[in-house]
Symmetry: D2
Subunit: 152 residues, 4 copies
């Protein structure tokens, strides 16, 4: 990325173009209720409003959906530079419950990278309250076909 | 757990009773397609058949659903001793894709515990192929109300 | 921490006082070559100059010493508020090698906390180059005796 | 590994030969007091007797040395198949303190692998008591020069 000759505006544009192509292709996250709120180079925000289908008997959001929300932000962020990139793994710490009706935001940011490996932090919040902290490990796979529509 | 005066048969029965109560209460995992296959003291198996709603454009299961499946097995296993227990966090390594139509099994096993903290390993497989390795960190919360129906 | 009635100056002073007491007591990290460079509320920097004893045959710093360096910064940071706090665990990603003669700096920062649990990020750098990313999980143990000399 | 045409005896021999070469080269772990106790294909045991230099003022082994001990077992195990392999990262959960004078054993076992990525579990024990659970993520680097003496 350091030898990227694009202008900042071109990089913003590329991030949005990749995200659009991913969104058209990734129906799973959207089907689960995840929305893309914002995306830029090495950065993305996704949202989930906690519905009945996401909660257990205590009306608390299932940890699997918190992970899915964070993972979706991570996927948009780590693909934002235009190189096809997959999640190699991730760790999540559950700090507080998300409740039925809460609108949760997951904000992903590139922390560090080296060669084809990247580390991204994703914080899941409800308003100002931190619900969970996720750290994703990405792996660039340049040989992988770009998502449909991305011909960078 | 070491000072548990129950017989092995009673512990098996308790694990099943807790799992039934959890299942009645936790509609989120079931709504996502997760089934409980087996449960015993410190052990549980869940299953997910990868449907259209779980996959992206490449017909590969979204990592969030792999986590959700593993997390569900972890939840049954760490509550199987009768003490209300929550997930403090977890790490997942994605090793291979799960494909549309695959029947995935997640097998959770207690690895170690100390006081109120536990470490559980969950392996997600499709047939003999390992799809993902999850490690969950649990925290017992004895003061928490038991799931409805559990009066241990 | 949110209900802390201390002034910022008092909190800075407390962080330094705790760190001094920890340093007097924790001979292991110092014996390994770790120095305390800076400390404040929820924040600490430690340093290690990579010596012959830290490297393998390829003159690359052993991952164990990178972890130890990061863990030491984490320990100073998570104890800086005056409540005795232990490391519950941590994850490290190794991004680049540290070489013989490098002066490594580990910078720890509080990311989030909830009740007695905390999440700290520690970045290990050599100059501007990131060597490793560590994330520590802390657990406050108010009942634990303070390090000698700390009577807050 | 699955297409390995070596006999079990040859694989045992290879694991020992690699370990000997690593031991000759890796002075850091040994300088810290780590001994190699056993090694085989995908498996290794290391030991550390907790000395004054490893403990803090409470006579408890520094977490950094617990990690270093586990990481050393992990390194022997993930290189045991003869392909040069590095640690990409690892997670450790601290369950109980290791005390001055304890002889700690770290047992590493291959859990899963896919392509060049591997997952290894390492349990650190003092007698029958589990002190820590480590999970290492390895990355094979076939292009890397073998440790001196290994010409497989």
């Amino acid at each position: 990325m350091t030898d990227d000759v694009r202008t900042p505006a071109e990089r913003e544009q590329l991030a949005r173009r990749v995200a659009e192509a991913m969104r058209a292709s990734d129906t799973a996250a959207q089907g689960a209720g995840v929305e893309l709120v914002d995306v830029g180079p090495g950065h993305a925000v996704t949202a989930l409003t906690v519905e009945q289908r996401h909660v257990n008997g205590h009306r608390i959001c299932h940890g699997g959906y918190l992970f899915l929300l964070a993972d979706a932000a991570f996927a948009y962020a780590c693909n934002s530079f235009g190189t096809p990139t997959v999640a190699a793994g991730g760790d999540i710490v559950f700090l507080r419950p998300g409740h039925l009706g809460d609108r949760l935001l997951a904000e992903a940011t590139l922390r560090s990278e080296s060669g084809r490996s990247g580390v991204y932090d994703v914080t899941v919040r409800s308003g100002d309250t931190v619900i969970a902290e996720f750290r994703g490990r990405s792996r660039a796979v340049p040989s992988m076909s770009h998502p449909p529509g991305v011909t960078d």
